[in-house]
């Protein structure tokens, strides 16, 4: 069951990546697209907890770092999404979160994830981007992610809940 869960999670992340790179640029605002990989990681965190979400975040981040057309220093998205997995996973406490709770978690995660990525770029001097530009990208990215939450999170969370081994046993 665990291998199947890992496989399904990776397929979900890969699908999110392809949509993010090849489909959403057609609807992008100044090239800013919804971060679907981040949404999948948050969904995993809300249903499966921080541990699983952090590992999934690491894998999803690696995909974002290495799959074309990425060209930044590898490991930056991986670090950002590991932290997102941790943050979103800590919100989950034995409850199925309410809709408001999910949206708040996505907003916080998106802000933390995008900011961390930008910050690691500033530290590594990967690209030199003006601060106002950074802020604008982060705000629009958070809005995009919140906008997509009602469509993506229920699907992702239902999927991960169905794959819960305990439920299958009962």
């Amino acid at each position: 069951m665990s291998a199947l869960r890992a496989f399904v999670a990776m397929v979900a992340v890969a699908l999110a990546l392809v949509l993010q790179v090849s489909v959403f640029p057609h609807f992008a605002w100044d090239g800013i697209v919804p971060n679907l990989c981040l949404l999948v990681v948050v969904g995993a965190a809300l249903t499966r907890g921080a541990q699983f979400a952090m590992v999934l975040g690491f894998a999803a981040g690696l995909l974002l770092d290495l799959a074309p057309p990425a060209d930044h220093v590898a490991g930056r998205w991986a670090l950002a999404l590991v932290v997102v997995g941790y943050v979103a996973g800590r919100v989950r406490q034995d409850v199925t979160p309410t809709a408001t709770g999910v949206v708040a978690t996505v907003a916080a995660s998106s802000f933390v994830g995008t900011s961390l990525f930008a910050l690691s770029g500033v530290i590594l001097r990967d690209p030199t981007i003006a601060f106002t530009e950074l802020l604008q990208v982060i705000v629009v990215a958070v809005l995009w992610d919140i906008l997509l939450t009602p469509f993506v999170l229920p699907v992702v969370m239902t999927m991960f809940r169905r794959l819960e081994p305990d439920r299958a046993a009962v």
Binding site: H26, G31, V33, M54, L66, D71, A78, T98, A104, A108
Partner: protein, 330 residues
Amino acid sequence: MPLLDRMRTPLARLDREQRPGRVRGGRERRWRVSSHTDERGRPPTSLVVALVLACAALMALDYHGGTGSPVEPARRAMGEVFGPVEVGTTAVIRPFVAVPDWFQTHDSMRSDIDHLEAENARLLQQVHTAGYDRNKLAEYEGLTAAADSLGYALVPARVVGLGPSQSFSRTVTIDAGSKAGLQPDMTVVNNDGLVGRVLRVTRTTATVLLILDADSVVGARIGNDMKVGFLRGRGVLGRDGRLDLELVDQSVVPARDDVVVTWGSDSGAPYVSGIPIGRVTSVFSSLRETSQRAVIQPYVDFGALDVVGVVVPSGTTSDRAVIEADGSLR
């Protein structure tokens, strides 16, 4: 952490209220035990440390590796897998993206079709304003003309993936790779002007660094007086997608609307010479840096990048029709 605690409190309260009617509580407790997390759902410290260190190690490897980075083979392998998927996905959604354009110009397109067959050459001039299919034709035609005036062969390709702005680097994937005769450091143009250069190739796709990227530096020349300088991207797409030109000769003041073209290098890598880049929109002089800085508006509309051409040496073998220097297809 305080933020998290605040978010957690209402959730916990809600849980207490709902708990009597819920059946899932027991199940969830069991799941938590089986996953080795403690009572508060905290992941094991060892895992946190391991993952963060793995990320840091990867960044260090890639950052200090430069072009010979050990991460590069992994990137190529990932490109071999995801490249064809991106090509396929774009092929599937392309007709749907074009639907709004098609409806807007449907009537004019129908009325023009007879003329189009008879007077194809003349209508190509109007095609920029017409529907999707004719736009595509015009772009290919423009590429042919570009190859004619540049004196190089061009491999046509289409953009199949765009890097998100959240990654702060301006790169795209195109659907031509080493099978089409592409190599790193080749110039990429479209019928408007310079697009960028090839960073790395897989068998079927290539990653292109746009000249808008903050890491992109292009040797440029002002068309009117041949003065040379360096063009840097700002890393911004959209309306502010401009380039900054710094001239080597400090005494020169570029004029508004001067044309900027590539300067080029001996072997034509990474940029061949004489490709139009954009026009000067404004000039700033900085006393502190004692230099003139001109802002360049690129000719290429990077928000709607589709058909591009990769400059290859004449006579390159390719898996598709190559546009030769005389404008013929081979």
